[in-house]
Symmetry: none
Subunit: 401 residues, 2 copies
Amino acid sequence: MDLEFLHKLIIPAQTKIAMLIMDGLGGLPQEPGGKTELETANAPNLDALAAQSALGLTIPVGPGITPGSGPGHLAIFGYDPIEYAIGRGALEALGVEFELGPEDVAARGNFCSLDVDGLITDRRAGRIPTEVGEALVQRLRTIHIEDVEFFIEPVKEHRFAFIMRGPGLGDALTETDPLKTGVPAQPVYALNPDSERAACMVNTFIEQANSLLADQQPANGVLLRGFARLPKLPTYPYLFGLRAAAIAVNGMYRGVARLLGMEVLEVGGKSIPDEFACLENHWQDYDFFYLHVKQTDTAGEKGDFSGKVQVIEEVDGLLPRLLRLQPDVVIVSGDHSSPAALKAHSWHPVPTLLYSRFVRADGIGEFGERACARGSLGVLPAKDIIPIALANAGRITKYGA
Amino acid sequence: MDLEFLHKLIIPAQTKIAMLIMDGLGGLPQEPGGKTELETANAPNLDALAAQSALGLTIPVGPGITPGSGPGHLAIFGYDPIEYAIGRGALEALGVEFELGPEDVAARGNFCSLDVDGLITDRRAGRIPTEVGEALVQRLRTIHIEDVEFFIEPVKEHRFAFIMRGPGLGDALTETDPLKTGVPAQPVYALNPDSERAACMVNTFIEQANSLLADQQPANGVLLRGFARLPKLPTYPYLFGLRAAAIAVNGMYRGVARLLGMEVLEVGGKSIPDEFACLENHWQDYDFFYLHVKQTDTAGEKGDFSGKVQVIEEVDGLLPRLLRLQPDVVIVSGDHSSPAALKAHSWHPVPTLLYSRFVRADGIGEFGERACARGSLGVLPAKDIIPIALANAGRITKYGA
């Protein structure tokens, strides 16, 4: 079922949908036969909501596929993450909330260390402090070539976002980063004729950048990879007729939400209660709310099982604030799994709960991986959750007579 | 898996498949935590059959999509209802069992009320009695334009089916019905060059129709919408090698079955027992039987929870008559859900049971929405049921060596 098919069936309604995403929610037991992070958490509010909900396990990208944050989020937002891929460079620019134009070509940049022969000795320039990286970025910002503008945005440590704006720039480009040391950086090649000018501009930029950095140690060179334009993504207001708001602290999630036409709200702090306060303050103004909790993923990636349990318990304690707003539809899920046992994102399906007055509730009074495996949503693509939510919100009309 | 792939694996067998469809079978509880219509029904025969069957929940069109009767039926018959859409006009003509030719263009017609300035005052002409509509249809049947024939078939009250037959008629046409009052009917426009002659014919027809009706009150005008030819659908005998029979009382279901190459049997009455008698009388003559029970949907759409329960109980009481015929495969399902709580078709998955000697029975001795959610068929597209039934009937050979 493609998005344009769904779009044609959308009708207006006075209903509100709240989507609570705990990043990397899905987990694994610490030992065989044990409980996952979510199953371990003492979460009476989530359990009570589960009893009135339909449960299932969502697959963000495909069976066995571990999603990055970009594809994981596109999927929970209803987009096929294989069809609508966001290139690495574009994602990096979104992450620093750079307002990418439709023709801009972005890349992920690294400061690196080069020896006297120009061979790479450290691809990350010894992970220079963020302040050092920021100062070096200032130097790169002095570069202008012909009618092309370059925007360089610091990210963290040795990383920066690189954006190129000008006429006739394609994004079918090879990478300069050889992904190993002891060899020189590669020149960029165009992979189609439309990208030849862009290749030439990038190579000239790198030449000038390396000369501007020549007196620096250890960050005396740059590497660029993941050249990409923004994909053309139909937006929430267009596709679903939703005034959508995003509540997230981290840049990348804010950037992806903005790309989909969501209003990205200012959160008055970085804590989870700050995000719930933001939700309350804007409840009247939108039809759809995406609230993103990053801390579950952070704990999972650190291998901090009990830390992840604590974050889930904190969210559980805040859930009544969301429910008091009386949303018509509530989704609680994750963008992927990040089991503490693996210290990384993983391919495991994601526990998902969908509540509305019109849902056929499973009566399973527990929100956990194995509880969700018994739910009536079954094991389903994550992108199917949004259409089901829209149906429960009275926002899809009948197909055919 | 497309139908041509399946077709190539079909082998003959001396087996019989019975598909019992309770229209709008899926339901919802009347109050949170309660039972659905099907769960409420005292249905010992269905429960006993469920114990020997594989259970599941079927999705007719896609997640969150509420199917009309046309798409819902195409899906349970094994066709992707998005790929094989039946236009509204063609469905209306099928509904009155008009034998649509492959090039005929059909539309849904309404008698309407026009004021002296030609503005619509009532799109349904006060829902004139069916007999009045039938008399007015006679007037329209006098119209002939050039080499084009017009067939007008009364449906009910102010509604009629409009069919146009002649050379060079396309169906890419806009609608005349503006879907509101206080404005004139729209002229028809062709949406491609192949449909220009058809647009001209329709506009001339409407002019002549309105002048023939000028002295009538309140039905002094006509509106036409949903122009469509029949889709090209591969038939049951071709696709599956099945001699298929349809047992249904209502025109639309009979029409769709005929379109798929099923033999539409004459039922000696309008009751459900009459339909089971018809099944018994023709048991020797066909390989596949579709038996359609409309009353579940009618009760659901009325919001009559207990009425729907009663219909299910009536069907349950008749089920032994079907089972005594010893079908090799039995499917019990619906074409969509129609919960009494919503008084309408809905998007909820449909409880489905598949029995055969070779099925891997779930041993769940209950036929209901939540029982089916635990079944081994899982949550699956409705169109996947027919291939599973054919396999259980020994009618699909191995794929590959």
